[in-house]
């Protein structure tokens, strides 16, 4: 069976500095992988490289999404093929209403996949259902995307986008940062509802706390641009006790 995501010996530079140093990782359908690691380890860099952010140079290795060469695709094609990155810092877009943005994103993906666009009433209905589940005020949908939203509202909004777009591979970059415990539960609940046999997830986090709510199948430690340890969910608890100091020496 083809893996959902296969990262082989990935090396990448940003601003002339090598950040990813031969990272390998395989995610199968239905699996949730957590990536933990100290600040500056390259967690966000990995997520941006996967999503296709400009400014990152791939200097080695390859990544296959459902067996297809990810780096041969533009960022929007990757999204249409089912890759979704929940941003650590979601961006504010003044002048673009949240609903307009959701419609544009969903319909662009459907067009690219040769599916019919969703009609406005159907979209509206779907977005309202999802908003309710995520405790998002429907008024927020008319406001410009993320403008003036609190940290928690932004993360809920990312989760809403993810739920609406129904991606195959979700990459969540520090979804827990800036969330109080109530907001964290709401967001984690939204994520858990997306668990499905055909879907895989990479949950990036600095703290173990999030993994109490989104329970992973596999936990990896990312340090100095590589996966340095892999284990079960107990590894997260262990890290909570010991911290990352033991891995800091790897940066060489």
């Amino acid at each position: 069976m083809t893996a959902l995501l296969e990262i082989r010996d990935l090396k990448a530079e940003v601003a002339g500095r090598q950040i990813l140093n031969g990272l390998s990782l395989t995610v199968n359908k239905g699996e949730i992988h957590a990536i933990m690691g100290p600040n500056g380890a390259g967690k966000s860099t990995l997520s941006y490289v996967l999503a296709g952010k400009p400014g990152y140079e791939i200097t080695g290795g390859e990544v296959l999404l459902n067996g297809e060469d990810l780096f041969a695709m533009a960022a929007d094609e990757r999204a249409a093929k089912g890759l979704f990155l929940a941003f650590q810092y979601p961006l504010e877009i003044p002048g673009v209403a949240t609903l307009t943005f959701l419609r544009a994103a969903l319909n662009a993906q459907r067009r690219k996949r040769g599916e019919e666009e969703l009609s406005s009433p159907d979209l509206m209905k779907r977005v309202r259902e999802l908003s309710k589940k995520l405790g998002i005020d429907p008024d927020m949908l008319r406001r410009p995307l993320n403008v003036g939203f609190s940290g928690g509202e932004k993360k809920r909004n990312e989760t809403l986008q993810m739920a609406l777009l129904e991606p195959l591979l979700c990459v969540l970059d520090e979804t827990d940062s800036g969330l109080d415990i109530d907001a964290l539960k709401v967001v984690a609940n939204g994520v858990n509802q997306l668990r499905a046999p055909e879907r895989g997830m990479i949950v990036i986090t600095h703290y173990q706390r999030l993994l109490d709510y989104i329970v992973p199948d596999v936990v990896h430690v990312l340090a100095a641009g590589r996966i340095v340890e892999t284990g079960g969910k107990d590894l997260a608890l262990q890290l909570e006790a010991t911290g990352y100091a033991q891995y800091q020496g790897e940066a060489a």
């Binding site: 999503a51 533009a74 249409a80 994103a105 969903l106 662009a108 410009p144």
Partner: protein, 441 residues
């Protein structure tokens, strides 16, 4: 300028001087307005077209741009009128008055005789009949010499006078549509004089459209008086043909306790210049002057604004957005003058440009000239490219590059358009901007 440097006329200037002489003889106008016309002709003969050494025309060298002086368009024919009726911008719920190739198309126009508080009369008949309204021609003209306005006055004849009676609330927008349909270049001159009396309310729309590929010229002037307590919204849509030259002069006087909001949307013409002269003549009034300019190819568009806070306790807000694709060139010059007695003036001016083309260019020149001490004024200007991070965010959600760009451009101009209060007009402007973006993609 005190020193008048004698200037050798260009061929176009000479042709214009000759055409003015012919026009003065062919279309006589008596009385004060006739004299005004002769004075304008004499001023043009002396000063000619403005050029880059004239401060206000630094970025738009009209003497270099206006190389040909096409003749007046001549009498109107039925075919042109039919075409224009079909092509002219349609504003939902508006009364429309149509000028085709510079001439009033009477049958196709909703001319109004002080019906429900609004009267709109052809300028020539108003002049001939000695209408007091016609005597207001030139009343709002600036002191200093303005080349296009001098020509517009010298060629006075076609146009419209509009009066909105005191306290009348006019629900239907009055739309003055200008369409150029000819295959050969010609020049049109139109003068519109509007008086909105005390406490009256009206929405005025002017639109300019024309055939692509024809190097015609439009010279339009509007004199708009907003009396005490009046409330006026003015929308100007400039979508001239792609080879046209568009010269516009907008003169405003705003009385006491009045509200004035304008929005100018510009996407047409090879080259255009709109000069706005605004003056507060009564206290406690508010003016919002805003606009969006969308340029591509080698288009050039210049918006130059002079706002005179002649009296105190008035508020003005200016916001102009310019989108520049390809090799286009945008100009914004805005000057707010606050007179010594105009205490408690609150004026804010902002010009923002978005550069989409690598060789696109924006010249921004906002200025304040403040002679009073107790005022709040500010201005700013920015020019930048689309934000790469925002583009990436949109693309990461599956939106392709072109569509992502269009969304961000739409949002950029939308921040100005959203100030248009009239729902149908606001939607119309958004739709026109969307259509511009769709043509680009």
């Amino acid at each position: 300028m005190n020193v008048v440097t004698p200037q050798i006329r260009t061929a176009a200037e000479q042709a214009l001087v000759d055409a003015v002489d012919q026009h003065l003889a062919a279309v006589p106008i008596a009385g004060r307005v006739g004299e005004l016309r002769r004075a304008a002709a004499a001023a043009f003969a002396t000063h000619g077209l403005p050029h880059r050494r004239v401060e206000e025309w630094k970025y738009t060298d009209l003497r270099a741009i206006l190389r040909e002086a096409p003749p007046l368009a001549g009498p109107l024919d039925a075919a042109s009128e039919a075409e224009a009726t079909f092509k002219a911008l349609s504003v939902p719920g508006a009364k429309r008055i149509l000028f085709v190739n510079g001439a009033l198309a009477r049958p196709a126009s909703d001319l109004l005789a002080l019906e429900g508080g609004i009267a709109a009369l052809p300028l020539d008949s108003a002049l001939a009949a000695g209408e007091p309204m016609a005597d207001r021609v030139g009343a709002l003209a600036p002191q200093r010499y303005d080349g296009p306005l001098a020509l517009n006055t010298a060629f006075l004849g076609e146009g419209l006078v509009v009066r909105v009676a005191a306290h009348a609330k006019i629900a239907a927008p009055l739309h003055i549509a200008n369409v150029f349909t000819k295959d050969d270049p010609a020049t049109t001159y139109g003068r519109v004089v509007v008086l909105v009396e005390e406490g009256a309310q009206v929405t005025l729309v002017e639109s300019f459209q024309g055939r692509d590929g024809v190097a015609y010229q439009t010279n339009s002037a509007l004199e708009l008086s907003v009396a005490d307590g009046a409330h006026v919204d003015y929308v100007r849509v400039q979508e001239e043909g792609d080879a046209a030259l568009h010269l516009g002069t907008v003169m405003l006087e705003i009385g006491r306790n009045a509200q004035f909001h304008s929005f100018t949307q510009t996407s047409g013409a090879r080259a255009s210049r709109v000069s706005v002269y605004g003056r507060f003549s009564g206290t406690h009034s508010h003016a919002g002057l805003r606009g969006a300019t969308l340029l591509k190819g080698r288009q050039h568009a210049d918006t130059t604004l002079l706002l005179d806070h002649a009296v105190g306790h008035c508020e003005s807000r200016e916001l102009f957005k310019t989108v520049l694709a390809d090799e286009s060139h945008g100009v914004f010059q805005g000057k707010i003058v606050v007179r010594p007695d105009a205490q408690k003036t609150d004026g804010r001016m902002m010009s923002r440009a978005l550069l989409l083309g690598e060789t696109a260019e924006m010249d921004n020149k906002p200025e304040l000239e403040i002679f009073a001490d107790d005022v709040q004024c500010g201005h700013g200007a920015t020019a930048g490219e689309l934000d790469e991070d925002l583009l990436f965010y949109l693309k990461a959600r599956g939106i392709p590059q072109k569509e992502a760009e269009a969304l961000l451009v739409q949002a950029f101009v939308g921040e100005a358009i959203e100030f248009v209060e009239h729902d149908a007009l606001r939607e119309l402007l958004i739709a026109r901007a969307e259509a511009w973006l769709a043509r680009r993609a």
